[in-house]
Amino acid sequence: MRLKRVFIPIVATLLFLIFWELVVWLNDWPNYKMASPSDLGPAFLKYWELFFIMGWQTLWRTVIGLLISILFGVLIGMVMGMSKTMREALYPLLVGFNAIPKATVVPIVALMFVGAHDFNTILIAFMISFFPIAVSISIGLSTLEAEYRDILRSLGASDMTIFWKIALPKTLPEFFGALKVSVSLAFIGTNLMEIVSPHGRGLGALFDSGKTNSDYPLMFAVLITLAVLGIVLYYIVVLLEQTFAGWAEKETY
């Protein structure tokens, strides 16, 4: 059973690569139109050092942005989840802020904090990814049935005790669901800034230099690297979810 769980995704990925190679080969596309998987190997070999340096840059900025998102998202979600007044006050602001395409904010932030490249990048990663977390926590807390509260409140438990013993664990499944979305969003944020920012670093900057030098296989290799990093972070979240909210998973046969 476990073997199958590893085997199926690997076969699916291989099939996808073969299909990609085949499409490019059949259409006889040159690599500036569409690079094929066989072009990627040489690109990785040629720039492997850069991939490590830039990949690390992108990764740590994304993770820091995500951690700030979690802190801020949980905090604002708690405030909105526990107070109806705060919820009514903050929701329109949050929704409005979230509706602004972050691609339009990137140049503003880049200009505002010009030169502070790490800060810029983390800021955008954070701005783009905290919304799902804040919403999931606030909904999880505000939809907690009164009876759950009452079994502890009728014993004289404090609000803090109710939060730690009931509200927080009950919200964890929703929180992890949101975190999975936020991981991908944070990556988008990091890369937006890395691409736009002049003299940037990170995989976004590597992508940009590929564009400048018409090195198309390099651009595709960056995309694949981003996908791999995204998968790794996603599954780290899944692992955390199984550890802390595994109880929510129903047995399926």
């Binding site: 049935e145 009876e147 759950y148 009452d150 502890l152 009728s154 004289g156 005790t161 964890l172 909210a245």
Partner: protein, 256 residues
């Protein structure tokens, strides 16, 4: 002296169309270690009554006393059970039952907590399910577990708000018996909100019929059986007469 004494209690809820009066000059007393069933038309304020007694709500007027002490806030000598068993999915059944002890007696040694919870579990026939998750249990079993949690800290008063309302008829009858067995082993003073008249006379020593909203105590009936309670008693002429009278009172309450 009555263990629960409700004196002249009135309560209203705020709504957009002004306050809605739920209870009006309600009086009710429950003797120590006895069980009082409260029946009445839907929406007459029975659940509000449970929240007032447990101190979760403060009455607009009137007073509620537990053991002669006025209720002003929630206190640890009350246990509550609802129609929804509200077990915590991330805890095992055993850990669920120990939850009130974590609040009321945080210093009690773990071994003692476990012993207490296990004793109650075997009392309701769930000894083999201590390590299971709530989702692995049937509705009736969950309600048994919920009952254990409600009395694990030995509360003076057990308040039950339609605890058997969502169960099928046979499971419900089983649980009536379980409740009586538990009460014989672990005496408590009980208040049972119910819609089921048969349930009320089978379990209670006193049945209170509330009037329609705003509710007051319309009718009180003492229930006494000369023999040990068993389900057969419900099919005697005496029970039929009691049920008829209660039904008549409910009709009057609905009309009011």
């Amino acid at each position: 002296m009555s263990l629960i004494k409700i004196r002249n209690v009135s309560h209203a809820f705020e709504s957009d169309d002004g306050p809605i009066k739920v209870l009006k000059n309600l009086d009710l007393s429950v003797e120590r270690d006895s069980l009082t069933a409260v029946v009445g038309p839907s929406g007459c304020g029975k659940s509000t009554l449970t929240r007032l007694i447990s101190g979760l709500l403060k009455p607009d007027r009137g007073e509620i006393f537990l053991e002669g002490e006025k209720v002003v806030s929630p206190r640890s000598n009350v246990g509550m059970a609802f129609q929804n068993p509200v077990l915590l999915e991330w805890r095992t059944i055993l850990d669920n039952i120990m939850l009130p002890l974590e609040i009321v007696a945080p210093k009690m040694p773990k071994k003692e907590k476990v012993g207490r919870a296990e004793r109650l579990l075997s009392l309701v026939g769930l000894a083999d399910f201590a390590g299971r998750r709530p989702s692995e249990l049937s509705g009736g079993m969950r309600q048994r577990a919920s009952l254990c949690r409600a009395i694990v800290h030995k509360p003076k008063v057990l308040i039950m708000d339609e605890p058997f309302g969502a169960l099928d008829a046979f499971t419900r009858e089983d649980l009536w018996q379980v409740l009586l067995d538990v009460k014989a082993e672990e005496p408590f003073t009980g208040l049972l909100i119910t819609h089921d008249l048969r349930e009320s006379i089978f379990l209670a020593d006193q049945v209170a019929v509330l009037s329609g909203r705003p509710a007051m105590t319309q009718y009180l009936m003492d229930v006494e059986f000369s023999e040990k309670r068993n389900i057969e008693l419900l099919f005697t002429a005496k029970s039929t007469a009691m049920l008829k009278e209660l039904r008549k009172q409910i009709r009057i309450a609905q009309a009011s």
